[in-house]
């Protein structure tokens, strides 16, 4: 067990509480940087996929995990990010600028869409955003002149300062690009969490009434949460579309949004680590299942198996470990640190009763 003797206020502000913690993450980063030299390009592609899912997941995490607003419509913002980025590139904007711009545009539009949704709570917000995700498909078809409709679009060549990044020619470069985006997004996420805005998010999540009494403007805070969340998810969507190479109106359907939400729940709501752990599950589950069915013989393919297993996993997590994989890890760590003094019901959940806010 490590003890923290705090001698100045920066201790609480720092990104890493101590040297040990810092070196762990530095080691992880070193491994990530060395990865292209170690594993095959197929698995490198899979890891890139994990990183992309993690970016999109971090976006939704900001909204659902930090601010407590459920969205079943984030696939719409992934689509928006992706289409904006590609349309900008086709208009001659260099890739790096187009990529940053698509995040900003998606964020602004997300914040604007949030304004009428501010009054909605819980289930109503979930339904409204779900409708948005379903509408996105039709809207892309209606906007065919720009989006290519059902025929879709192909991702243009990616050039960063004259250096071409191609998934098939140099997968390592693609991987590094995704890694840089992940690092920047994670840093921004952490910074927001240690700033007044991040605490305002938590305040809105836990008690809107007392947040107001502390001077937090609920409407503004929720709008900001939507904006930032949509911007990050838009970046994830842009990367996803570019990585896939081609996309159309059905690439970003509402099932993707649901999968994204399930992903962050499995990973652990409200934790940055949760988005990454969830992304690993989402990206590797199909691989794992296909290996498993291969071994069961004849390599047969069961349609819907992936979503079915995913659903079962999720049910198990919600019932037995609502804090997700990361929550389970935290408990394990505490148990190890206390060993052998951990009590059996150390983590017992408090019994809770539901009291409605509706009067009829």
């Amino acid at each position: 067990m490590r003890f923290h003797f705090k001698t100045d206020y920066d201790h609480d502000i720092r990104l890493f509480p101590d040297w040990w913690n810092f070196s762990l993450y530095a080691a992880l980063l070193a491994v990530m940087v060395a990865l292209p030299f170690v594993i095959s390009s197929f698995y490198l592609g899979e890891v890139t996929n994990v990183l992309i899912w993690a970016i999109a997941g971090l976006g939704l995490m900001m909204l659902t995990g930090q601010t407590g607003q459920v969205s079943l419509g984030h696939s719409a913002f992934m689509a928006m990010g992706c289409y904006t980025c590609v349309i900008l590139m086709e208009a001659g904007v260099p890739f790096v600028a187009a990529f940053v711009l698509c995040g900003i545009i998606t964020g602004v539009i997300g914040a604007l869409i949030a304004i009428p949704a501010l009054k909605l709570h819980g289930v109503y917000l979930a339904i409204a955003t779900l409708a948005l995700a379903i509408l996105a498909d039709d809207i892309i078809v209606i906007l065919s002149p720009w989006t290519g409709g059902v025929n879709g679009k192909f991702a243009p060549d990616l050039m960063i300062f004259g250096y071409e990044i191609n998934r098939w020619v140099n997968p390592g470069a693609w991987y590094y690009m995704a890694l840089v985006v992940v690092l920047v997004v994670t840093l921004i996420y952490r910074n927001i969490l240690r700033s007044p805005l991040g605490r305002a998010f938590a305040a809105v999540r836990d008690s809107e009434i007392s947040a107001q009494a502390m001077g937090v403007d609920i409407a503004r805070t929720k709008t900001m949460a939507f904006g930032i969340s949509c911007a990050i998810t838009g970046l994830g969507g842009a990367l996803m579309g570019l990585f896939a190479g081609a996309f159309n109106n059905e690439t970003f359907n509402f099932l993707l949004a649901i999968q994204l939400l399930m992903m962050i729940v499995i990973g652990g709501l409200g934790f940055i680590h949760g988005a990454f752990l969830g992304a690993i599950v989402v990206a590797f589950l199909p691989q794992g299942l296909s290996i498993l069915t291969d071994q069961m013989g004849r390599g047969f393919n069961i349609p819907g198996l992936e979503m079915g297993v995913f659903g079962l996993l999720l049910i198990a997590f919600i019932i037995f470990e609502p804090h997700g994989l990361y929550g389970r890890w935290l408990k394990l760590r505490i148990w190890l640190e206390l060993f052998p003094f951990a009590r059996r019901d150390l983590f017992r959940r408090q019994k809770s009763y539901l009291k409605t806010e509706r009067l009829r």
């Binding site: 609480d12 910074n191 947040a211 107001q212 009494a213 502390m214 937090v216 409200g270």
Partner: protein
């Protein structure tokens, strides 16, 4: 001019008149208590000052500002902080984070500064933490500073709520039943704290409290309410001996501190 003035304030819920033509004023530096039986409209007065409810008639001013023109989240900007009767803390955050939310009204950074933690962001965080640590020291919350609210005992939560309100650097502090549910020792602490808040920090306090023992020890002025109407106003001793108060609030029996010191909760 008084710090807080309510003039002829009336509020109705459907057919029920919760507050009826209430006029009161709190002077700077006072500790002022609202007393009265359950349902007398005490918390409703608080909720009108916090702008959760809008009175049907009358005016509420704070230091010359018309509170009725403001939205709920703008009220704290003037320097009004409050606690809640049924503790409303941010359960999934630590004590420290809860108190830091209290500093929200003093935020000066822009979104971009916070996203990249540049410019004023770091200096501002240090400043916030310095202020919050002072409150933690004042209220002896050091053992709990990094604990989640969800696991804390009731008495501690009550103190955290007070601490969060103090973190906003208020001029007027609204305390909704600060001693309800507290043990005798905790109530004793609360009494010293309220005294110190007034003396050392120069904060005006308006509180709702059932514990007449506490009220008579810390308050300068007391206003008794019943059925949304003012029954009596004056020093604690005056109000406690006022015949109408004895009849409506304390019953016809003798005025005893113990009878009301049991800390009833609504």
């Amino acid at each position: 001019m008084s710090l807080l003035e309510l003039n002829n304030v009336t509020l109705k819920f459907g057919g029920v008149t919760a507050v009826n033509d209430l006029t009161m004023s709190v002077e700077e530096g006072q500790v002022y208590a609202l007393v009265g039986p359950n349902g007398a409209g005490k918390s409703t007065v608080f909720n009108m000052i916090s702008r959760f409810y809008r009175p049907a008639a009358g005016s509420i001013t704070f230091d010359g500002h018309d509170l009725l023109k403001l939205k709920s989240h703008e009220v704290p900007q003037l320097g009004i902080a409050r606690t809640f009767q049924n503790i409303e803390l941010f359960d999934r955050a630590t004590v420290l984070q809860n108190l830091l939310v209290g500093r929200h009204r003093l935020r000066r950074t822009t979104l971009v500064e916070e996203m990249f933690f540049v410019g004023r962001a770091r200096a501002q965080e240090r400043e916030h933490r310095l202020a919050v640590e002072e409150v933690i020291d004042f209220l002896d919350l050091q053992p709990y500073r990094n604990q989640m609210i969800a696991g804390l005992p009731y008495g501690v939560r009550k103190v955290v709520e007070l601490a969060r309100a103090l973190s906003t650097k208020p001029r007027l502090l609204l305390l909704d039943e600060p001693a309800s549910g507290l043990s005798v020792e905790e109530t004793q602490d609360m009494r010293w704290w309220i005294d110190d808040i007034r003396r050392q920090m120069g904060i005006t306090v308006l509180m709702v409290e059932h514990d007449m023992g506490l009220v008579s020890k810390v308050c300068d002025r007391v206003l008794a309410l019943d059925g949304g109407k003012k029954l009596a106003e004056g020093t604690p001793a005056e109000v406690q001996s006022h015949p109408k108060v004895i009849e409506a609030y304390l019953g016809t029996g003798a005025i005893s501190k113990t009878a009301n010191a049991k800390g009833e909760r609504v």
